[in-house]
Symmetry: C2
Subunit: 202 residues, 2 copies
């Protein structure tokens, strides 16, 4: 197998398996087998399971950012960005539900929730990515206020609340293993934003 292909394979497989199951229940052997990479190679590229996991999730975050940059494109009206984001959240969960038969929730939150108390580097990564997601919302809300779509004194505080709500709702959907929990995503979010009518027809 050529050059860095093994490393990429490990990154992708690790993220897939761990987000589908959990950190604790996925073994290094399992990751290696599904990657078609031998264990020695694993420990050539990564010093530990924890280090691979951080790398795998940051790798996934980098590609997610590309998607989010498109969704939150400055060329769209702010409220359209939010609507597209809510659609994206729901669609992502729906896709994974189809593929794996289980509603998986947010991989970053799930991993952070499992390991925040035990592995500081994983906690820091989860925290950093959570802040990254929150920042997309804050920028958009700030522009929505400038645009006159939303009236709020503190865009930062409003973004915090919206982000908290989304995190909580996706979490609840995972525990309920029911995509219909996400039916409340738009309505709750728009209520938080003070928009009692959805901007685009839902």
């Amino acid at each position: 197998m050529r050059q860095c292909e093994s490393k990429l394979k490990l990154l992708r497989t690790a993220h897939e398996l761990i987000s589908q199951q959990s950190y604790g229940s996925v073994g290094v052997d399992q990751i290696c087998e599904q990657s078609g990479v031998k264990k020695g190679s694993f420990y050539h590229f990564f010093r530990s399971k924890s280090e691979l996991t951080v790398a795998a999730y940051e790798y996934h975050w980098a590609s997610l950012q590309e998607t989010l940059d498109r969704i939150f494109s400055a060329e769209k009206p702010p409220l359209d960005r939010l609507d597209d984001y809510f659609n994206h959240v729901r669609q992502t969960q729906t896709d994974r539900l189809q593929r794996y038969g289980r509603l998986l929730g947010c991989p970053f939150v799930s991993l952070g929730c499992e390991l925040s108390t035990q592995d500081e580097s994983i906690r820091l990564m989860a925290q950093k990515i959570s802040e990254g997601k929150r920042a997309y919302l804050e920028n958009t809300i700030r522009e929505a206020i400038e645009h006159g779509d939303v009236s709020a004194a503190d865009p930062r505080a409003l973004a915090d609340e919206l982000h908290t709500y989304i995190v909580g709702l996706v979490q609840e959907a995972k525990i309920a293993n029911d995509i219909r929990v996400l039916d409340r995503l738009k309505s709750g979010a728009y209520r938080l934003l003070g928009l009692h009518i959805a901007p685009a027809a839902v």
Copy 2:
């Protein structure tokens, strides 16, 4: 060791260790050692680690319900109950942070998040308890509306939103490992409830 004392010790120790660390990182041996109970006794009382965990968390939920019944006592004004509950959430996290040096979040949500995709009986337990907590909020909101403190058309929907917000916020606090995240608990909750001024001075 007498009668059911071993069983209770296992229930308490299992909940403590797993909520402090994670399901995957706590072994049956560790639970047994910390309980002072031998492994054979463990498997006399419980058929598996999973079954013990469900029993341990339901045992904890039963005692938590006693506390919640006091907090949500029908003899108090509805908004006082909510305020007491918010104080309780914060105090619980503060206490555990002191004792364990880590912000642990909600044990039920954490366990559900880790294992919902893998262990159906644990998922069902987490879902049931989540609904139990939500019900306290819904009853209180319903009475707050009757009482004229809150104006909302759908108490069920409002309770859903509030519960989602609390779950999300405690989760974020865990990942941030920072109790100050919970500073947003009351302000966000009261904003959700349409109360822009806290009912009791904060």
